[in-house]
Amino acid sequence: MSKIIEISSLQKKYGSKLVLNNISLSFESGTIVGLLGPNGCGKTSLLKILTGLINDYSGSVLIDGSIPNEYTKSIVSYLPEKTYIAENNKAKYALDFFEDFYADFDRKKAEEMFKQFKLDPEQKIKSMSKGMQEKVQLILVMSRKAKIYLLDEPLGGLDPASRKAMLDIILNNYSEDAIVLLSTHLINAVERIFDRVIMVGGTKILVDDTVDNIRQTTGKSVEELFEEVFKC
């Protein structure tokens, strides 16, 4: 399979603080990859570089053969940690917005998911709970038929029932030929959906392997391996 994302010798600093050092990775389509690591380890920075939100890095990042630009933005569906849709607007406004700007946005699918999760498109975003806002955003992101889904902590701050609903949204809606790169520190909740996991810590890639391989070679679950790798 062709490599949809190729990263080589990536380095990112914030001032004098090195966050990512000499990172080289590649990703193929058709997989769900877990990007794991403790808070502040550089997961979000890596995703922001892939989305084109951070441009001051060294090394090479290619997405479908291009450096992050307006083409790569058209094939990347990104869910940040933050509420990025305007809070003063109704959810319907966000549907209109996505439909206008993303050619791969399936409005019908999004509206069906709104109904499924009992979300009212006429409700203002700011009057929704945090969990509802996150569901709206995830529905918008997963209603795109993108080649790459970058999901930054999609489960943070959600109760267990909502987490399951969110995972269902991801699993039921990503394109089979796409790649999902999901960052989280709630490993137990999402371990079952990963094909491959990457553990980031101390500016480097500490583990990069398939879930099956990890289980076979270490005899441990991903969460157990994570605890071992990052034990204090």
Binding site: N55, P80, I85
Partner: protein, 273 residues
């Protein structure tokens, strides 16, 4: 994509600014009603209120534009805007076009409010005609053709400085300074540009020369303003006024430079917190 960006930019800003236009309309009706009733204190109060509100409208429009630019691009909403499949310069263009349009609209509303106030206060068209004829007497009636483009240029210049400052303040070098960085960068940019503009206005040998002897005439000249100032200081009675044009050329160049640099920074250096 630019047309789509413009559509959403107009839609979002149209929720705030026209609300203040409605307030001006309400005060205008009040001032006209006061004139009909003929109560002196009511006429004066409502007319002054209308002028003050009209002037405030300009400030409010600028505040809305600044807040919109910052919030939509550099707060959480920026995570969506900067990941849209559009070029950063298209984002910038949409903000600039919409902001410019609203400022012009607000100025027009302000002028309308001013006319209603003057009418309520008893200034009629004959008074305005006499002011215009005074201008004509000195051959300055065509000044309007210079004043309007200069006003438009000033608006663009101010916008370019605002957008530049907010964008610079959101580059990694200024992250530790917080929101205050925007004000600091704007102040520094404004002061530096004003100093350079003044120097260029005085010393560049390109000017408008207004002849004060006989029939007033205006012509392009290759003199600079420095000589005019020296003569004025020496107390020599001037036969003409020299207005340096170098400053205006500088403004045109700086508008292009500031918008270009802002677009480049948005593309390469901006890092959302």
């Amino acid at each position: 994509m630019l047309s789509k960006l413009l559509k959403y930019e107009f839609r979002d800003t149209a929720r705030v600014i026209p609300f203040f236009y409605l307030i001006i309309v309400a005060f205008s009706i009040m001032a006209l009603t006061a004139k009909q009733i003929g109560l002196e204190w009511f006429i004066v109060t409502s007319s002054i209120l209308l002028i003050v509100t009209g002037a405030s409208l300009i400030v409010i429009t600028f505040v809305v534009i600044v807040m919109r630019f910052y919030k939509n691009l550099y707060s959480n909403e920026g995570y969506l805007m900067f990941t849209l499949p559009v070029k950063p310069k298209q984002l910038l263009a949409s903000k600039a076009i919409v902001a410019f349009t609203w400022i012009i609209a607000s100025f027009l509303v302000f002028i309308g409010a001013l006319c209603v106030s003057l009418y309520s206060l008893g200034v009629d068209s004959s008074d305005l005609s006499s002011i215009i004829s005074e201008f004509k007497k000195y051959g300055l009636e065509k000044a309007i053709y210079i004043i309007i483009p200069l006003m438009l240029l000033s608006i663009l210049y101010f916008l370019s400085q605002i957008f530049f400052s907010i964008t610079v303040a959101n580059t990694p070098a200024f992250h530790s300074m917080g929101v205050g960085a925007g004000f600091l960068v704007f102040f520094a940019t404004y002061v530096i540009l004003q100093i350079v503009q003044s120097v260029v206005t005085v010393f560049i040998p390109l000017s408008l020369e207004i002849n004060l002897i006989g029939n007033v005439s205006v012509s392009l000249s290759n003199k600079n303003m420095f000589g005019f100032f020296v003569e004025s200081i020496k107390g020599i009675e001037p036969t003409s006024i020299t207005i340096g044009l170098g400053g205006y050329l500088f403004v045109v160049i700086m508008i292009c430079v500031l918008f270009y640099v802002t677009g480049r920074l948005m593309n390469k250096k901006v890092s959302l917190r």
